[in-house]
Amino acid sequence: MLDVPDGGAVPVEVRLPTLLRPAAGGQAIVPVEADTVGGALRTLQEAYPGLSGQLLTDEGELHRFVNVYLDDDDVRYLDGLDTKVGPDSVLTILPAVAGGA
């Protein structure tokens, strides 16, 4: 299984949008172990290097082109990447849909 650097890591389900599935071997749902949202995303990127730069910026911030939800909530309105996850948490990643005139 995947490496778990932090204590208190729990199994978390990460749901990927269609756009990112090819980079994760075609999987729609990837199980990881993590204690925070950021930990889950970093673990995911380590397991699937094709996702690097798609989720987190070089500075380690959440990329502005994606939205990440912990269950029903946008993590930007929680504690961002520091948001704690629980054993039954579902993280959903969707593209941020925006544009202009």
Binding site: N67, L94, A96, A98, G99
Partner: protein, 161 residues
């Protein structure tokens, strides 16, 4: 922007047109008129890779601007879950241009996340609204024709597929 490599569901070229009923088109225009003078926006739901809109989900424009739009992230999550429950997917987005053509702006192209999506533009610049659809792949804009019904002569998916 990498192409799906046959890992299931990647729409790539698709049928090269968008099926969009008059009712759904009018629903989009009505939502955009309600949002005016701000840009209106919403998501398009349909079967993956079929070039077909089954329903529209108008959402709040979180940018609350006449020059920018941001689909409400929570509405997006809800729409995504409901689509999946129905065996469908979010297959595109629509938004209005209040003062310009129904053509993707540089901002639209920069922020176009998905080469498989349909980008529908509703222009409210003129007396009559105009609605057009595009694919945006690797920064390249390609318009696709909109049909109200599947053109006669086009292969028809079997029922239940």
């Amino acid at each position: 922007m990498s192409d799906a490599d046959g890992s299931g569901g990647g729409a790539d070229e698709g049928p090269g047109r968008l099926l969009l009923s008059e009712v759904l088109r009018d629903q989009m225009i009505a939502h955009c008129l309600t949002a005016y003078p701000e840009e209106g926006c919403g998501l398009l739901i349909g079967p993956l890779g079929a070039g077909e809109v089954s329903r529209c989900v108008p959402t709040a424009n979180m940018a609350a601007s006449g020059r920018l739009y941001t689909v409400d992230p929570r509405a997006h999550l809800r729409a995504d879950r409901e689509a999946e429950a129905d065996g469908l997917a979010v297959v595109g987005v629509f938004h209005s241009h209040t003062h310009t053509d129904a053509y993707p702006s540089p901002t639209d192209v920069d922020q176009a996340p998905d080469p498989d999506w349909h980008y529908v533009l509703v222009s409210l610049r003129d007396e009559l609204a105009s609605v057009r659809s595009y694919r945006i792949v690797g920064g390249e804009i390609a318009e696709e024709p909109i049909f109200e019904e599947r053109p006669l002569g086009e292969p028809v998916p079997r029922p239940g597929r």
